[in-house]
Symmetry: C2
DNA sequence: ATATATTAAGACCTTTTTATCCTTTATTAG
DNA sequence: CTAATAAAGGATAAAAAGGTCTTAATATAT
């Protein structure tokens, strides 16, 4: 569904949001540790998210990553996916055709349509804030035991 | 969503089905040409589909690929996807967690659940026969103009 | 000011996916 | 039986994704 980068990116964002709500800025090391992702690779992904203004980064001692509580309700899953994987999943033909539209649909165009609409709506409506709540109340998890 | 292999595989199956309904056995060359895919790569994918008994192959002059009309109503999109990409898309955690279940869900587990259910149902219920009909009546297409 | 902690950036390596090419095997027509 | 045709299979190559490492830039505390 998503690339590995995107999976790590989403996990990182949810984690950072959760910590930011506790007024804690988190370091790369903490993030990688707590979401069980490769450190250096996660750094790259965070750079990308930072450049897209989805997360704030601060250098130096006591530095790290954080998300303004105000912003995290406005950041959707879809925005993260778009920043990392691009908008292919929102638009591209399910069978990889260059030319696929209502006017010249591929054989699975209509079958995929409603599924994609549901997916897009969900990605768009689900905020990082919302997802961080499950972590907080212990009902969801970002890594194995 | 799917790998390139899987996209070509699905396109090839729909094409072969359509031709088989006209009692035409098709060669690799014809397939690659008509679905606009790389010939040698398509050959590999067809081997895979053939080993999985999703398509019949015949060697030698007048040989090629075909699907028994009786079988093509029983072959679902999902069976093709499973043969080529495995069943990851049906099962794997959306955030790539090893451990993700109802008992220990990832933060997006519930959001993804209904979407995945819809996708699985669609893949399972849509047959190659059905998809070949659109081609036949000219309402769908397997390649660009 | 300096030493230290931390992210940013770019070069590099590894694995997987995508794709090609060549040889072998099977089948058919003549 | 032979020549020709077509898929099967294996080796190889190229491109993309996944991942590491080293150095630079920046901020903090003392």
């Amino acid at each position: 569904m998503f690339s590995k980068s995107c999976e790590y990116g989403i996990r990182a964002m949810i984690y950072i949001a959760g910590e930011s709500l506790k007024e804690r800025r988190v370091s790369l090391k903490d993030i990688a540790q707590d979401i069980d992702s490769p450190v250096a690779f996660t750094a790259k992904i965070l750079q990308q998210l930072s450049r897209n203004n989805l997360v704030d980064s601060v250098k130096g001692p006591t530095g790290g990553f954080e998300i303004q509580p105000g912003r995290m309700k406005k950041i959707s899953l879809g925005a993260i996916v778009k920043a990392i994987d691009g908008d292919g999943i929102f638009k591209t033909c399910g069978l990889g055709l260059k030319e696929c539209s209502e006017k010249r649909p591929c054989p699975v165009h209509n079958q995929f349509k409603s599924i994609r609409e549901n997916l897009c709506r969900m990605l768009d409506e689900t905020s990082v804030f919302e997802l961080s709540q499950g972590l907080k109340d212990g009902s969801t998890f970002l890594r194995h035991k």
